[in-house]
Homo-oligomer: 132 residues x 2
DNA sequence: ACATGTGTACTATGTCACACCATACACATG
DNA sequence: CATGTGTATGGTGTGACATAGTACACATGT
């Protein structure tokens, strides 16, 4: 069985949404290094998407270093996703700046954002359901 | 003179980048409620973009409630951007979740992200240059 | 040896966002 | 009346996205 679910939203590329769901599963430990990743055809059947679109999902995760491919066998979760200093600063600048601007536009307080950050962080620490 | 600058990045829509730069200027107080917003043709000339693209910029800011239009006169910065509860939860869930997933992928600590959040927050509080 | 399942590679079609060009109109101000 | 504003309308080109279909090299099962 495929260890993650997706509820498709309009306006966002399908392959991106599936890749993000998979990334969440990996990051949160539901898929661990060495675990087999669902095949292109399995993803295609499960999410009712074209095999080419499913292939784009694994391709995206491959580019990010989250998966490794065993030719003829399939893809497995990579041992240790590498990260460069450039990637870190890119994330910490562009993405957080966007978040701050949006939060200030909505007149949120820093405490509100910080609390939400803590909540989501611990939510992805262990595979337990968060309270609403 | 136009009170904000843009360094265009490939892969991101032009109108979105200009709108984000303007939003930053408004949120950080460099453009205050009642101030006149650059005209479509001024934006077009300044950033070397098509008038239609420039018009899409003001249209996007208009939809977000950051601008108001005086017919025949131009657009001015709106008095008080409204924010619905739906907008807040959308931001605090989808956008922060994305940030957390990316941060965990890059093996960053919560402290790192939290520190970057504080830094960007105060950076947009007053129009002073942040130290690098 | 053979069938099966895997990743991967092509070609092709259709839709849509994006950015451009150009023109035109209604409005308010000088 | 001319000028500058926002707004609307056509058209063109490029690229991403998702689809369909076909094909190949590889490894593993029997």
């Amino acid at each position: 069985m495929i260890p993650f679910r997706v509820v498709f939203q309009p306006g966002v590329p399908l392959y991106e949404q599936v890749a993000f769901a998979a990334k969440k599963a990996i990051v949160s430990g539901q898929l661990r290094p060495g675990d087999p990743f669902p095949s292109v055809r399995a993803l295609s059947a499960e999410f009712k998407i074209n095999p080419n679109t499913a292939h784009k999902v694994t391709g995206a995760l491959l580019d990010e270093g989250l998966l490794e491919v065993r030719p003829g066998l399939g893809a497995v979760v990579a041992d240790r996703p590498v990260s460069t200093a450039a990637e870190r600063t890119r994330l910490l600048n562009r993405e957080i700046e966007q978040l701050v601007v949006e939060a200030k536009r909505l007149r949120l307080s820093l405490d509100d954002v910080s609390a939400a950050l803590d909540r989501h962080w611990s939510k992805l620490d262990s595979p337990q359901e968060a309270k609403r």
